[in-house]
Symmetry: C2
Subunit: 190 residues, 2 copies
């Protein structure tokens, strides 16, 4: 039975407030109040407000990565695997709208220290990169420069989740679901 600690409550509350009001628009006092803890408690668990932000960022990225790994399927058919990966990734975003919104908002901002951004971003991009390289070696994907293709794929994922989070009912519509994958797949396939 999972016990919800005060530390977890602080993290969840901070997530919601940072997404809604921004990092600097959210005081530590408000986070503490909304999480029903004292400010002293907040600073007991996190050395500083920045530290809280960083832990949040890292934990969300890990959550996403774990989810992808747990749902991995390898059929041998590259396109089918890509489609499964694409749907799994967007599905996670739909089930974790706050986390996805948080990432959209802060992965490019100056609030997160550059070294942390770089580290988490690299793990995502490497994952995409491995997939693309495999496809290129099979002769199924375009031979554009890898780094450019990685950025493009990631950008398309971000764009699709932006759209579906703004229009959640469309994610239930097979036409839209397939269209989002097709836009992605056509761009990289030969």
């Amino acid at each position: 039975m999972p016990k919800i600690t005060k530390k977890q409550r602080i993290l969840e509350t901070a997530l919601a407030l940072f997404v809604k009001q921004g990092f600097y628009g959210t005081s530590t006092a408000l986070i503490a109040k909304q999480a029903d803890v004292a400010t002293g408690t907040l600073f007991h668990h996190f050395q500083s407000k920045d530290e809280l932000m960083n832990q949040l960022f890292i934990s969300i990225k890990q959550d996403f990565a774990t989810n992808i790994l747990n749902n991995k399927q390898e059929s041998g058919d590259l396109k089918q695997d890509a489609q499964h990966l694409w749907n799994t990734s967007i599905q996670w975003a739909m089930e974790n709208p706050l986390k996805q919104a948080f990432f959209q908002q802060y992965s490019l901002s100056t609030v997160i220290p550059a070294n942390i951004k770089k580290h988490t971003m690299n793990s995502t991009l490497q994952f995409i990169g491995d997939f693309i390289q495999a496809g290129q070696e099979m002769g199924l994907l375009s031979n554009h420069p890898l780094a450019l293709m990685q950025e493009s794929c990631h950008g398309q994922y971000l764009a699709s989740t932006r759209y579906f989070l703004d229009n959640p009912e469309k994610w239930q519509d097979p036409t839209y679901k397939l269209a989002s994958f097709t836009l992605f797949w056509q761009s990289i396939s030969l």
Copy 2:
């Protein structure tokens, strides 16, 4: 002969600092100091720090739109027109790296009021939308839902500019230049 007013200096300084340190990480005192004006002068030209931010956001978006309009070419060949548009758009970003970085950072953040974001975003998306619709009617572009295609195209533009701004020398390489367009064009073309 263009006279550089103090107001302009404040805007330019604020742009550089907001990109480098973020909005809340940049005090009005620092903007004033770096622009060689007094804080009183800053608040004479801008009602508040927020107002300064908003004017900056709007003026940058207008600058981009004007540039696109001034470089418009219609050859009758849709793909060729698309390529010209694509190159012109990225070229602007390469010539205005601070403005492009500013837009990447703040168009999704909570710092800019939602109504301003919506207004400027709509003008961009409508522009893309008109183009896609024309192509669909000609039977040259995929018939995916328009809103999804708009978001996808915009996302690919943002991804490409992120890549080329991080690797400016690659924009001079015809292979990379063409690859970025091809990734975009293949995703939407039939």
